[in-house]
């Protein structure tokens, strides 16, 4: 499912003294089955884009082409609801959206809203709970009795249960411990690889961008300032710092090695690539001696 933004503008509280322009002239296209990372410092308009992508708000001006359907200022709410069925969004700290008596019921809530029968919803819920790796002994418990990390899993399962084709993740690992973080990111990567899910990830973790994304959108002050693959984005450390962003540690390390006279390729963005090229380099040097 492709999404295209055409000259999209968004103004909060348009026409009031509190009017506040969040996005100006946004143009980009997200290819089906792409893993896109959306980066930019706080207040650059990332969250507004997410809400537009999920049809929670309508653009003030411009169009969003959603798999051929046009969404603009005049699109009725009913059509937006159809968009939401195909887009799942995991908001920041999603555990604050839990409300049902049991974990299972909460996960079933989404599918049931989109017209699934309780039987179907339960199947989808069980599938989603297995995906997020929550043991079955928790399924009949109250979500408020779980630990923070487990609550997060339940909330994410609640989104996965609606079987979206596009999954939007707004800092899904914020506040998790390193193990939980790794587990969750791996799970999303697997969903992307195995179920052809289109993923849009908002994050401040450049490591995650380098590791998983194949397309990066850089936002600054409501504008799209760069749209490229991670290699191109991370090639210019000085420019990123101007945007109050950073390069991943692997790139930082590579740049330091290059400054010390090492000759390493430019397209290194993660640890694995760094290790490989170092291996090649050291072996090659060894052979030369």
């Amino acid at each position: 499912m492709a999404i295209e933004f055409k000259n999209v503008n968004y103004v909060y509280q348009a026409g009031t003294p509190f009017a506040n322009s969040a996005l100006t002239n946004l143009n980009f296209k997200i290819q089906p089955n792409a893993y896109t990372a959306l980066i930019g410092h706080t207040g650059s308009g990332k969250s507004t884009i997410l809400q537009l992508l999920d049809g929670l708000i309508k653009p003030t001006a411009g169009q969003i082409l959603f798999d051929g359907h046009v969404i603009d200022n005049k699109t009725p709410q009913k059509d937006l609801a159809k968009v939401r069925q195909h887009v799942g969004i995991v908001f920041q700290f999603p555990e604050s959206q839990l409300f049902e008596q049991t974990v299972l019921k909460d996960v079933m809530f989404g599918p049931q809203n989109f017209g699934k029968t309780p039987m179907e919803a339960q199947k989808l819920a069980e599938k989603a709970l297995k995906l997020v790796n929550l043991p079955a002994e928790y399924w009949q418990k109250s979500p408020f009795d779980l630990s923070g990390g487990q609550m997060r899993r339940v909330a994410i399962a609640g989104v996965l249960a609606i079987e979206p084709q596009i999954l939007i993740l707004d800092e899904p690992t914020a506040g998790l411990d390193p193990v939980g973080r790794k587990e969750m990111m791996t799970m999303f990567a697997q969903l992307h690889a195995k179920q052809n899910l289109t993923i849009i990830l908002v994050t401040h973790q450049m490591e995650d961008v380098a590791e998983y994304a194949d397309d990066v959108l850089v936002m600054a002050a409501g504008k799209l300032v760069k749209h490229a693959d991670p290699q191109t984005i991370f090639a210019d450390e000085a420019w990123l710092q101007e945007q109050q962003l950073d390069v991943p540690h692997a790139v930082m390390f590579r740049n330091k090695l290059v400054a010390q006279g090492f000759d390493l390729p430019k397209n290194i963005v993660n640890v694995e690539q760094l290790a490989k090229s170092l291996q090649v380099k050291l072996r090659g040097d060894g052979l030369n001696e």
Binding site: R84, I89, Q97
Partner: protein, 266 residues
Amino acid sequence: MSNMIIGRYVPGNSIIHRLDPRVKLILSISFIVLIFLANNWLGYVVLGLFTLVAVVSTKISLAVYLRGLKPVLWLIIFTIILQLFFSPAGHVYLAFGPFTVTDMGIINACYVFLRFVFIILMSTVLTLTTPPLALADALEYMMKPLLKIKFPVYELSLMLAIALRFVPTLMDETVKVMNAQRARGVDFASGSIIKRSKAIVPILIPLFVGSIQRAIDLGDAMEARGYQGGENRTKFRVLKWQRRDTVAVLIFVCVLVVLIATRFII
């Protein structure tokens, strides 16, 4: 919610902005009482001029005030219609069944309309130019005499200050939870009343749970910083009475005198 003007603060640096919040609060309350003193057109002209001067001197665009009137428009129209059609006294212009339109009815309807508009404009002046925390300070100061009858003034004003501080936070939280549930297929905008009120549950429960958690965290954080109760604390924001506050009170007293005079002139 974004259309609500009443209760919002617009930062600025006008004369009204710089007035002591106590003065603004007391004068606004007295103004509401004052309005009922006017019983003829001259009185309403005086009040209208005073309101206009207050509104203009806030240096906030008139459109903002008009938008503040919008939510109560229906209430105003309803009251006017009641006054217009159900005043039996005075010269009758029109009569059909229980409905009568009389000259007294028309005049009363105009007065009620003006009263509504003045009260709303003045309270909007108060809230647009006074930060909520300053209002809480003013209230605390004014409740001080109640300490003599063992009324928990400090506790109440602390609760008020905390409540005011968390209004925007809770609003953000509400929008966030609503969005999250909408993304999961909840429809708040259509369906029967029963269906719509059922759709509130997935918002209310997370909000309650979040508020309780926040209250626990805030209580712990306050205790960790040595809070032990309201008695014997010093204040960071000290309210200072200045000359412009005296001037404001004097102007108000003048209006009061003129208004009482109008009752005898006509």
